[in-house]
């Protein structure tokens, strides 16, 4: 592979990660508030379809993105209502919505399947894009890829440095403690679930208007992305930078799969396309195995020095979810 091809490939990895980043950061915000939105997979499909349809109908890309965000927010509002107000299992609600939204996307998107529509154009940043190597890598993208860079930093800054952001972390950690500090837990959980849904909802139009422009129904190749997003959220340990790392790593592997395909002519393309999924299992294994009881038991039999090192390595990889994730909150008990 030539250096140029490699550079363009890596630049492509960055832009292919943009929708994942929106999904992962959106979900991270939602889960930090103590709600998990497992509808992600259907939500991304529906907002991809809806965003494409809106932009096709109006000719406006901006309205396409707006529609995607609105769909994400609407689905998240259902999650919020059923889990915060009605206290139903968030897994059950998420699963049903994931299925429902997927089928809705296929049903409603049927008439616009395969149509040509608007798509984002590249927006090289004048001056910066001329820098050798870095210019191609970082400054020759469309606007959503730039936005995804900003999103990571903004999410980190918000959660670590701002007052409402610190409260957001508190909501998912100990809602009662947040409550005595003046937070309206239910209202804020609603707000963050819906906001997180809107951000994640943008992932849809980023696919259908940029990364994989158009709507191709069941062969869009988007089914499963939402689950990957949820897995990366776990891998990311609910931290924006680590989550971004996970998203980039995932896209890199996917790209490698494509690049390596010609080297293995006997392997059908579908096989390489699923390679990320066993990898997803593997990363979750690494992140979670530290909690396993059998490991603790076997570690206890090792000499102390070795044990300490292994335990330290595992705890560095380990990701602890917000303590009150999925736990309903009552003000007065």
């Amino acid at each position: 592979m030539t250096g140029d091809a490699l550079l363009f490939g890596l630049s492509g990895v960055l832009s292919a990660s943009a929708p994942l980043l929106f999904g992962v950061i959106g979900e991270t915000i939602t889960e930090k508030a103590g709600v998990s939105n497992l509808a992600m997979n259907g939500m991304i499909l529906l907002s991809a379809m809806g965003g494409f349809a809106a932009s096709l109908a109006t000719g406006s890309l901006a309205l396409g993105f707006l529609a995607g965000a609105a769909i994400g927010a609407a689905v998240a509002a259902v999650v919020a209502f059923t889990s915060i107000t009605l206290k139903q299992s968030q897994v059950a609600v998420g699963y049903v919505l994931a299925m429902l939204c997927r089928d809705l996307a296929y049903f409603l998107g049927n008439p616009i399947m395969g149509m040509n529509g608007p798509r984002l154009t590249l927006l090289p940043i004048p001056g910066l894009s001329a820098i050798p190597l870095l210019g191609t890598l970082l400054f020759r993208h469309d606007i959503v890829t730039y936005a995804s860079f900003l999103l990571i930093v903004a999410a980190w800054f918000y959660m670590e440095r701002t007052r409402p952001g610190i409260m957001l972390r508190g909501l998912g950690e100990n809602p009662r403690a947040a409550y005595i500090r003046g937070a309206n837990v239910h209202r804020q959980r609603y707000a963050y679930t819906i906001a997180g849904g809107a951000i994640a909802g943008l992932a849809g139009p980023i696919y259908s208007l940029s990364v994989k422009a158009g709507w191709k129904g069941t062969i869009s190749g988007l089914d499963g992305i939402g689950w990957i997003v949820l897995a990366i959220t776990i891998f990311g340990g609910w931290k924006p930078f680590r989550a971004a790392l996970g998203a980039y790593f995932f896209s890199l592997l996917q790209w490698l799969g494509l690049v390596l395909q010609p080297l293995m002519p006997n392997v059908p393309s579908q096989v390489l396309q699923v390679a990320p999924f066993p990898l997803m299992i593997l990363t979750l294994l690494l992140v979670n195995v530290g909690n396993a009881e059998w490991l603790e038991r076997s570690l206890a039999r090792l000499p102390e020095a070795v044990r300490r090192d292994i335990a330290r390595a595992l705890s560095a990889l380990n990701a602890t979810p917000p303590a009150a994730l999925g736990v309903p909150f009552d003000e007065d008990d």
């Binding site: 497992l38 259902v78 209502f81 059923t82 107000t85 009605l86 206290k87 139903q88 897994v91 059950a92 609600v93 699963y95 049903v96 919505l97 299925m99 429902l100 939204c101 997927r102 089928d103 809705l104 296929y106 049903f107 409603l108 998107g109 049927n110 008439p111 129904g217 499963g224 689950w227 949820l230 897995a231 776990i234 006997n266 392997v267 059908p268 579908q270 096989v271 396309q273 699923v274 999924f277 066993p278 997803m280 299992i281 979750l284 294994l285 979670n288 195995v289 530290g290 909690n291 396993a292 059998w294």
Partner: protein, 350 residues
């Protein structure tokens, strides 16, 4: 308001009405005639003895899957990986068929061996998801989904690789088995086979008996409600989790084997046809109660089969069936939530 059978019934009926109303609105939104769509589905599901038989054919794997996930739900696990377990059942069944089809064995025994192989495949795949969960801490939803994709890839690789048709591999699957190895049907024209139907009914009966009447079922329930307490009460927790995974995988494996031996007579790319995902929906809708599972599964099968004609006749996507099912389960969940909220409020006011 009282927590009685009749309030539950009212809420159930309300969910159905709301689901239909919303689906109707959505069909109308796309500029189509909802009545025509429903009529088409109804005709597709019950318009002739032939399509009715198809509904039963599709009821069989669904019922098997529901029987399986009742075990995993009872022990508190979301076995989303069941889709892959069906696929592995189908792959193993096909494998056994390919090994035995030229042997001197009687066709009945070949089919039986193939179903046994299917069970093995389903169990192995389920145990893999179970091991990831119990020993690796990987949430069974993600582990299961990942394994589903792997199973699909494995299936495709076999169809396009080692097991491809002589000449050119194609999406239509492997070469069909010899006709003598097809599962016998009620009549030569029909696809309805009595043995799979019997297996499915037996599966739900077994699920009902084990879960409702035995200490094993009670232990599963205890583990599902609170694994820590269950362990402290002396119940081997992870063993019960693995066992319920294995049971679920076994039923899924039968479903996959049935698809291969009695419906398609070969291995095809999307052999699991989403039965696993639909089965989870059915189990949620009946609130994990085995008694209601059979009729609800029949209804879901009717919707799926009925919607097949939609794209041809009305140019509507057949995912409409999934839309109705999704709304139904969603509104039942919402209804449950509202009902418990109202009950709690009433209690508080006492």
């Amino acid at each position: 308001m009282r927590d009685s059978k009749s309030t539950r019934l009212v809420f159930g009926a309300g969910s159905v009405v709301l689901a239909l109303a919303l689906t109707t609105a959505i069909i109308a939104l796309t500029g189509n005639d909802p009545i025509a769509a429903y009529r088409n589905i109804a005709q597709g599901a019950a318009g002739s003895p032939n399509v009715a038989a198809n509904v039963v054919v599709s009821w069989v794997p669904l019922l098997l899957v529901v029987s399986g996930v009742l075990f995993t739900f009872t022990v508190g696990l979301w076995n989303i990986g069941i889709e892959g377990q069906i696929t592995l059942g189908a792959i193993f069944a096909t494998w056994a068929m390919r090994l035995l089809q030229d042997s001197a064995m009687a066709p009945g025994w070949v089919i039986a061996a193939s179903i046994a192989a299917g069970i093995l495949g389903g169990v192995l795949w389920a145990l893999l998801a179970g091991a990831l969960k119990t020993f690796g801490g990987v949430n069974e939803i993600f582990g299961g989904l990942g394994l589903n994709f792997v199973a699909t890839a494995l299936n495709l690789w076999l169809i396009f690789g080692p097991w491809k048709r002589p000449g050119v591999a194609s999406m239509s699957g492997t070469l069909p088995f010899a006709e003598r190895l097809w599962m016998p049907t009620v009549s030569p024209q029909s696809r309805l086979a009595p043995v799979p139907l019997g297996l499915a009914l037996a599966a739900i009966a077994i699920a009902f008996t084990l879960l409702k009447g035995t200490y094993f079922g009670l232990r599963l329930k205890a583990v599902g409600r609170n694994p820590t307490s269950a362990y402290r009460l002396g119940i081997p927790t992870w063993q019960h989790m693995m066992l319920s995974f294995a049971l679920c995988g076994a039923f899924a494996g039968v479903a996959g084997a049935v698809q291969v031996t009695s419906v398609y007579h070969r291995l095809i790319p999307s052999i699991s046809s989403g039965y696993g995902y639909t089965g989870l929906m059915v189990a949620m809708l009946v609130n994990f109660s085995p008694a209601a599972a059979a009729p609800v599964a029949l209804f879901f099968a009717a919707l799926n089969v009925g919607a097949i004609q939609l794209p041809i006749v009305l140019k509507l996507d057949s995912s409409l069936a999934g839309v109705i099912q999704g709304f139904l389960v969603l509104f039942v969940l919402v209804g449950n939530g509202i009902r418990t909220r109202l009950l709690a409020r009433r209690k508080g006011a006492l």
